[in-house]
Point group: D2
Chain length 490, copies 4
């Protein structure tokens, strides 16, 4: 039974990919929770449904607040933030998956907290554990009581069963048992801890603030907002334990170069974040240039599909010489959520969010640049709007390769049979959407844009690109149990 008030997105209505989480932690500053609130605000694009903060204060112990809704609507209020005193705090923003039911909803909001004999520990997790279902069954069998429907709760229970005397050792013990992708920020009464899985699929960066403060954030934009200085990325397989102004690094999960999620470059990360020393905006701009080189077409205008297609559209325009213009305008007052909407609101669909700049578009051959095609339904609606405004031709250019495989490493993707690219060729997709042309950037083009000058290394790909290639760097064991079919070996 769905709770009242679940969000209704008039535009995408499920036709989108969602990063599932952002994590943030800070130590060594007064009122740490306020910094966490700001950091989470900067990471809001990674999870808009709910957020939580845990703070520790010697006099007041651990305190925690979890809330549905935007960070700015909850964690900016003085009366609330006063309940989170202390100089050490971590937080989490999340996208709440459809499966959450009434009695678990708020309980699923992280950070998770466990009271152990050696003290409390809070954990926030970005990613997805591919063997969580099996672990959960096993833990319940041995007497663990799960309080949430979130797989990430396994980590706390695995810690509880560890015989290590020390909480950071228990975290290691627990994470050795899990498979999949995880960037974890955790805290004890005295330590701020950051960990990335062996492949480093999800991002996590380290920053400094003030004389002796340290920050962990999913992205560098979380450092910028609080005026923290970027130090370095946490390495794949690395664990950092920060205490008393010192950072201790170990590599409990191996020492590989890792396979970072290439889709973070395409869509998830903010354009002002820096990944691997490279501006995300720049990578997206270069994707546009690659697209223009790979798939040129004669046209009058290059228009972005707001807002994520914009940098690639600028790049396409520069490389092709075709003028850039905002042919589609986004209503900045639309949030994702309409509570209890009228039927008219439901039927209004895309018009609530977007409007065509009719005077600009009329009679023109238009190139639309979008970040990706998932189910294809949004592309169809946008094409309808553009043609309805009198465009002479519509050409779609997509700043990612065809998304033909689901992600099991922390991105909410539809089942494979709902992905347009899993069912159709590029030409079939073009006809189904009903446009004059449709082209995706190549996988090599994407790699080049992301800084790999020679493109994708066929033997040891530099990124995780399973959603495009079907090559999963970690076997999705829970999914295989449920009957998921991997790509046949060639």
């Amino acid at each position: 039974m769905p709770l009242p008030g679940l969000p209704f997105d008039p535009l995408t209505d499920g036709d989108t990919l969602h990063e599932e989480c952002g994590v943030f932690g800070v130590t060594g500053v007064a009122e740490a929770a306020n910094f966490v609130a700001l950091g989470l605000h900067a990471l809001q694009h990674r999870g808009q449904e709910a957020g939580g903060i845990v703070a520790y204060d010697a006099a007041d112990g651990f305190n925690s607040v979890r809330r549905f809704g935007y960070v700015r609507d909850n964690f900016t209020k003085a009366s609330l933030m006063e309940t989170l005193p202390g100089s050490l705090a971590i937080g989490h923003v999340r996208y709440s998956t459809a499966g959450s039911k009434g009695h678990t909803a708020l309980r699923d909001v992280q950070p998770f907290f466990g009271e152990f004999s050696m003290g409390g520990c809070a954990i926030a997790h970005n990613g997805n554990l591919t063997n969580a279902a099996a672990l959960r069954r096993e833990l319940i069998e041995h007497g663990s009581i799960f309080q949430s429907s979130s797989d990430s709760e396994c980590i706390i229970h695995l810690m509880a069963r560890s015989i290590q005397k020390n909480l950071s050792e228990r975290i290691k013990d627990a994470l050795r048992r899990v498979e999949g992708a995880f960037s974890v920020v955790a805290m004890t009464r005295t330590k701020l801890i950051g960990v990335r899985d062996a492949l480093g699929v999800r991002p996590l960066v380290l920053g400094r603030i003030g004389d002796k403060g340290y920050v962990l954030s999913s992205e560098t934009c979380g450092l910028d907002i609080i005026g923290a200085e970027f130090v370095r990325e946490i390495e794949p397989g690395e664990m950092v334990v920060i205490s008393d102004g010192k950072v201790e690094s170990t590599r409990p999960f191996g020492n590989s170069k890792g396979r970072f999620c290439v889709f973070e470059h395409v869509y998830f990360s903010r354009p002002d974040s820096i990944i691997g020393g490279r501006s995300v905006y720049e990578t997206r701009y270069q994707i546009g240039r690659e697209l223009a080189a790979e798939s040129p077409v004669e046209a009058d205008l290059v228009c972005p599909v707001p807002d994520s297609g914009t940098p690639a559209a600028v790049g396409y325009s520069h490389a092709s010489g075709i003028p850039f213009a905002f042919g589609i305008v986004r209503n900045q007052y639309v949030g994702r959520t309409f509570i209890e909407p009228t039927d008219q609101i439901r039927n209004m669909g895309v018009r609530l969010k977007l409007n065509v700049n009719r005077a600009l578009i009329r009679g023109k051959r238009v190139i639309l640049v979008d970040d990706s095609v998932v189910r294809g339904t949004t592309s169809k609606k946008i094409k309808d709007m553009i043609l309805d405004a009198g465009a002479a031709e519509v050409h779609f250019r997509i700043a990612s390769p065809p998304t033909a495989w689901p992600c099991f490493y922390g991105v909410d993707t539809p089942d494979r049979d709902k992905l347009l690219a899993a069912r159709m060729t590029e030409d079939e997709m073009r006809d189904w959407i009903g446009v004059d042309s449709l082209r995706f950037v190549s996988l090599d083009g994407l790699y080049r844009a992301a800084g790999e000058a020679r493109g994708r290394d066929a033997v040891c790909p530099q990124f995780c690109d399973a959603c495009f290639s079907g090559e999963y760097p970690v076997a999705p064991s829970d999914q295989l149990d449920r009957g998921f079919q991997m790509k046949a070996a060639e």
Copy 2:
């Protein structure tokens, strides 16, 4: 750090005893959660701060809602109750103790829920476990993660560690490990379960509704409100498992006559409830008669301290022939809660709740009948009001013996050194409060009023009266660990 919005009671301000919980369950009726809501509304006096309901529906699984505030403000709304479908449901109302901190508050609201390999189980508990702290330490040592600060959560974790294949057997296993007072209502997917501890300290009754429905309720007033028929009390030490319209009874915790809490008669239970075949109102009325016989005084009026002193005041008036009158009027629009009150509201104190019927009181010798004296501060304020209105004399008659010992079986009492009767003789109390006379009913008088014609059996007392006598029927082991001093043997 206290959460904003904690209640401010302008009258008692801590000078009162609180029953900590009420429990209710129903099976075999459509929309069971609606019945639970009504039952909890009738039991609201047992816990006003928060309530929770868990319901089970074959199609929809377990659903649960927990809310701060009155039942009538939450669990009457159609949109909320729709999220709790099914024909089996249990619920709980609670008094939230001062110790609850920010991050645990709503999590402490029962029923507690556990997912086991053989299915889910929800539990609601009225009472207090006297060895909970020790159990909790032990469970954490072995890997249990507590999600609340409530000791009752131990029951779920003990169940999780049982090797029984069957949930009702696991409940038995768990309850065999706990000490203290418990009246438990629990549910699995198919069963409604009720249990009382060996001494039957807290009440629990069984009722029938419709053709094949059954009800468990802390008091009979919970049956009345939904039109259920009273069947019998659950016996001390008994467990009933109700399934498919059948009630199976076992006695896993012994077969004694039990020692029911005598304070339920004095104050906690509703006057329209029936305990041990006897109307609570009648018992309170008889206490008034006993008081008049034991402690007569010449006066013009007998006035109750609203509202709980009323039946005893009527009894006192009838036995003494002194006219009964409402000398103190209660403002019916005062709730317990003032959110963020102005200073003037804080300072207004008792006037917000009570006003003296000045024209009635002026120049009169007044007997005030109250249910109990805890810290004594409220009695002092009421005496001031009455004298200020021009009373000639003020005589207090108290419908219970001096409360000199804390309760460890589910009643929130101040520490022993805060109890006026632990520090003073009756005459000292009279002088401290500043009244012309002060008398408490005797322990024997109380027993007679409650139906024990020969008074208290010194060898095998019929009730638990530890708060008056200091004789604790179950050793309060956690408290002894913390240094609590039992009454010296005589």
Copy 3:
């Protein structure tokens, strides 16, 4: 179209009379609005749906807050009260009549405020203007814009059209044009003003607070709560203008003895208020004695219908010697309001509010004392409850004469054809309700109880008793326009 959230009263469901307002004002104290909030809290029984306060501060001008709901839920919050600075303030509580529609609702909440060329003026009104409809038509014809659906707004517009230079003179001008009942509390930047109509139908009292503060309140209980000293009642036809610690009295509306509403004694006023030097509680108690003398019956118990029948039941018991008992218990956690209730809540009706003390009632002959019979539906429900609990006989004794005529002076009564006593004789009512006997106190008995030893003066009745006698002291001209039939002259 009714707004969501209109109150649903499970017990009376329209079968009750409502006082429509309470008024309160204070000057000469710091933070006057806080005192007004307390006064309105004490007057909450006169209007539960909404309240408003206007305050004046030299630096900050006039400020005003209007809110739906109880005073204690709104006007106790520090953050709200800070918006109402100043040493002069007035307030109003009201019962919101069913006719209020969406766009007027909050606008109908008083005090009304008008900006005049000589400064602002706020007005709060208790009573009803019997020529308001005609005045409203006339004012609109001449260019007045009404902002509310409340007839009381006429007063402000009449003031605006007065050519007097002074606001208190303008108030006199305005009130000379209105007919009906009014107790008005008003304020300008420097003056607190109180007025009663020529007959003094609604109450209004004057009190002192501190060195130079003055208070106006509908009832004396409003003085008690803030520790003000009762000075005197405002006289029928009197106007007091309080400024700089001085009270100036004039009699612009005649000098009669007045005809105070006798129903204030029976039901509306609080039992701890003093009217005409007489305790309301005492009058109600005496009504019970009159009833016992006029209409004795053999029985086992006298039980009040909670809560308003209680003093008369005590009187009946004392006069008859039949024991008094609480046979019906009221759930103190029921408010008037259920927002969006489930069907089960709606159907539960009276059980949500009342429960019978079954053990007490079974087999007994019960006298039930209630304050009045309006439509009779509530009496029927209560009779059902009592018989269902096994009472042997049920006798109703009503502490007022039969209510056979609507009130047009500030009480919300059903249309005449809905009043049971307008359609039936006493015996027919008894049969319709289904009880063994039903008796009302006589009009003379009521007058005696209210202190008029020789009963009702047939020539110059001492009270307004139109609701019982059909003799309206002021012609209800708007109603006559709408076709209302007065009682035929005899």
Copy 4:
């Protein structure tokens, strides 16, 4: 005393100009209020603080709802919209000026409603009446009671004093008395009415929907969202009365070409709206080209100040050949409002809203294109951010001439002495802001971009440009009364 919860804008903090209103009306469609809600949502940029809708239904009369906050958070809820039935409705969004005090706030939200002897009339007004203060004094003198602090309420009172029998004639009468700028949408029980003042300063367009429905909207984007067809602009001085599917046009206020507000082109209107047959986006793009031609500079990047500087930045880039890039990224999750913000939020300022794309900016010579300079404080903050990110040079190009005069026709501007351009020359402003260069587009350049090929006609300027030129087309009489100094004649 400011109410709690007034908005805190972390970026501009008063350093911005605000359009004060948007108006919308529709007739001849079922559930007209739903269409008004959508239209107001599209016009939300014209007023973000509050909105109101009035609807008329034959069975249900006039209903109205006013709310603070965004349209999408209030007027999308089914339960609310059900209270606004009928096929004729109008609405208003507004920017709430700082002057509003506690007791007037919600009352200031339009539409205003008046009940006249010939029926009700609702009015929504965009613009500002320059003689409102004088009119208000006069009306109060004659007995009008103002309920709001809004000058627009004068219109209703002037209507009330008209002797015309017909409401649309009364509107004419009223508007003949007012001076200044007004685009009015009004409704009676049967008519939808639109009026523009003689100069047509504020926009108003007419659209068709369905077979016989008509729409009035401040901008064409309000037609697009509901799928209405653009018919034409309402002419300066024109009044249209729409009834039974017919549009009657008259010219009660003269027949001039008008002087439309040029700032609507620069900033207020949405880029996808069409004014005078010309796309607002196109005009802004052309301003950028004019700027590039008038004020070239060598640089590496052209970056818009988000979001309003974007089209001009694209134009500048195209004309200059300097690459366009998003050097500043806007956090899409920042609304204007922080309720009760922590100090840290307050101090965070611009970072909450904007972040620099550091990797892109470092070492570059950057041209920043913004729409206007008001107080200059925002420009300073943005310059700081850009330099802090390592830019080599910063050049500001402003898409409007220096704003040196306040607007009295419906735009909220600071007092003249707060306007940077009123106090400094262009060079002084450059130094005060601290950038390498600062250039504004010329007035002629602006006119050319807006479609007047020969620039500004010095004798009969085609637009109202008082904010730049100090030439006020209507004398601001209230302001002159208060001592405002007009520009000296040259």
